[in-house]
Amino acid sequence: MPTSLAIRAAPWVFVIGMLVVWQAAVAIFAIPPFVLPPPTAVAGAIVQYWNAIWYESLFTLGTTMAGFLLAVGFGLALGLFIGWSRTIYAGLYPLMIGFNAVPKVAVVPILVLWFGIGAVPAIITAFLISFFPIVVNVATGLATIEPELEDVLKALGASKLDIMRKVGIPRALPYFFGSLKIAITLAFVGSVISESIASNHGIGNLMLQAQSQFKVPLIFAGLVVLAVEGIAMYAVMAWLEKRMTGWAHRSTGFASS
């Protein structure tokens, strides 16, 4: 039976294990570093280009977070709006699906046309790609109020706003905070796509330049930095979720009656 220490150590063990396998594979199969650099070379690149990486990663983090925060605000508002009534839900849902089906990489050229290159298209792409799960989750949380409970409150003369405030919104919160974990990851995808296509800054741009100069370890260094930022922000969202909606995790769903 695994102890709690083993469970806590497991993620680190697996990360280190992966790096060891990677390093060994490169050595054993004599893979040239311009195809797949070993982890040591990637680490070397991180040290060597630390100043540039530090600056560009903060830039990417900034555009990502800006787009993400926009997505949170807009997604929350639209989710509440859609979840408010079945008619709005029915009307807007197909539109949302269609919108979400459009690959956001295809939108970037339009954004460049409108806003030029730089931070703005990156922020907007991050926003566009990450607001959808927030909207859907908030709307779902609102739309799945138990009809009996709605009846109990309506029979007392509760308005739609009362029901939303007392039941709908608290109920939608676990869905909302859950969706933030998905949204933040997607936001990174959006900002990096846009930076790789149309920016002079950010990790995406850094990797593109490294590619053109054949600095393969630096490309991988960019990936590592993105992964670290992604994990860190995911952890923040998971922590937030646990803190804000602890009740949803303490109970194993609605206790059976």
Binding site: V152, G157, P170, S257
Partner: protein, 260 residues
Amino acid sequence: MRGFVTLEGVRHAYGGAGTQLAVDNLTLAIEKGEFAAVVGPSGCGKSTLMKLATGLQFPQNGVVTVAGEVVEKPVKIAGMAFQAPTLLPWRTTLDNVLLPLEIVEPHRKRIRRDRAAYRERAEALLAQVGLDGAGDKFPWELSGGMQMRASLCRALVHEPQLLMLDEPFGALDAFTREELWCVIRDIHAASGVTIILVTHDLREAVFLADRIFVMSARPGHILVEKQIDFPRPRDLELTYAAPFQDMVHELRGHIVEARK
């Protein structure tokens, strides 16, 4: 026709005119303080009756009155409890019980100021149904029967004149169910609230009710109306007596007939 809750020639369909009727020519009258039970085959429109009497739905034809007034909006003097306790998991039991007071006038305006007094009232109510000291627990810390008790408290906290129970004990085990019969019996005896109980359980209906209405299959109307004259207070032992069994048996016959 006089009565605290009356339905006269009521016809209703959920999909509007022309769709299948849920109830048709439904007529009944329930006196103030009476304990009425409504039984019938599945899908006979029992729940529709609940919605009509609380002002959640309005009839296509006919008239519904509650407390002498024609129902044209939610009645606000009713408390409701369902088979699912539907407690809010993010609120403690006590805060769940207080929920209706945050909605219904005049408590809605007072509750913030008089929170302590209202808490006391809710705690007294919890004690009355055997949930002393459980107020600070969250719903998932309670058993199914305890959740149902809390749900009853929520239905009663604003001192409704009418209590609507829609198969409230359907999901409970037999022993818990009988315990809760006694809880409801005592609430009725103590408060004199008018109760309409919708149920599938004929023993439950005969044990609790003053009068039983047997509904037909869809579209529902009243087939038989049965006065239950067993003296109160009734004890669970009653359910094993021959006259009780005969009554249940007779009602069962009506339901079987209604299903055809």
